[in-house]
Symmetry: C2
Subunit: 236 residues, 2 copies
């Protein structure tokens, strides 16, 4: 595959800046050739020493896929129920149905209520060649991000979650996963349904420092028109 | 920022498939507006509950930047010296100077020997709001991947490493990092020097399964012309 010149790549930059979490999908399935392109992009991601210890299990249709989606649905509702209470989604500004907090709560509730019927569910796995560590994710999450960006490039959308963590034993038993395989993430994918807002993030100067911790780099200024996150209950 | 239509995004897919690790740079500095665009893309990445616990420290020029680059250089050479021996880079096929293994060893030696003078060094950090865990990287490594992809979109290149791990105490002292901040990665960036081969990865069917662990999805077939990794000593 020839390398493109920089001049051919403006849409790469634009795609990076406009890919957001998508949690509502149409019923449309994702055809095999689109899945291939999405997962191909995932497998191009870097990893330490180019070992590529990441693996992706892709569940679309069929009895096994249905079982996995149902299990993940159980995990998702457990996680969200606990979070909804713990993080006070129904308190404070959350009592105002028009608040970002209340909107986020509705989005999440709708997402976990319907996750059993997402078009495609992907389990991102990691074959461990060392003891578990906080940095092992460098070998799997870049590939997950490539996957989500490629989905967007083809008109699909998705979101990375940790739902598998709440039903891990059941998943391992169902899938017969070897002991050295870590379950790193659950990604759901589909054709976006309805309207979705812009990517909303904190101002860049809060996140990008120069040579002094806590001090925004002088050039770290959001481009005009950037949607800024004013609350951590943003839509992701 | 308006969302592009899928038809505008073919170069996003192409960019994902052709971004590779770049370890040799020209002396060219990266101008502020390019750094802004690269780090802006990084900060658009997803994170759990959109908390954005990632932070990037960007070191270009000046005494502090030089100190950090020198420290990372020390860590890099420690890591590579140990790895070169442990992984047998100078044994077996590594004794053939034309072998992929020997080429990789030369590339790495050259990289760690010159890392003190890379144009830009980025430390990717994570403000921990939970105990350290193998999944915390989901909140920082997608942003690192966005950073590397955006660099490519602008004609630069880089690579993600764990060199900071070998000089962590010294770095923390130099930079006065709070205890709850994890040092997740070191990224070097610059204008690529010389020629670079294609992205070389394992065949997709080894990495992408359907609903059965270890069995490649029937559609997981590399596109024609894909450069395949036949040895784990590939160029990354």
């Amino acid at each position: 595959m020839d390398s493109p010149t920089p001049a051919q790549l403006p849409e790469l930059l634009h795609g990076l800046a406009t890919t957001r979490a998508i949690r509502r999908y149409t019923d449309e399935t994702i055809p095999d050739d689109a899945l291939r392109d999405i997962l191909f992009a995932a497998t191009r991601a870097p990893s330490g020493s180019n070992r590529q210890p990441f693996r992706f299990m892709v569940f679309s249709n069929g009895p096994r896929a249905d079982q996995v989606k149902q299990l993940i649905g159980t995990g998702a509702r457990r996680l969200w129920d606990a979070k909804r209470t713990r993080d006070g989604y129904d308190a404070g500004s959350g009592t105002d149905q028009a608040s970002p907090k209340a909107r986020m709560a509705r989005t999440m509730q709708d997402y976990v209520d319907h996750i059993d019927s997402v078009p495609v569910l992907v389990l991102a796995c990691l074959i461990r060649y060392r003891d578990p560590s906080p940095s092992e994710g460098a070998n799997v999450y870049p590939a997950c991000q490539n996957l989500l960006l490629a989905a967007r490039a083809l008109g699909y959308g998705g979101v990375l979650t940790g739902f598998q963590g709440l039903v891990e034993d059941e998943l391992r038993a169902l899938l017969g996963l070897p002991d050295d395989v870590a379950l790193s993430a659950t990604i759901t994918l589909g054709r976006p349904a309805g309207s979705h807002g812009p990517v909303r993030r904190r101002p860049m100067a809060e996140l990008v420092f120069g040579d002094t911790w806590g001090t925004g780099a002088r050039w770290a200024v959001d481009p005009p028109g950037t949607a800024v996150l004013s609350s951590r209950f943003g839509p992701g």
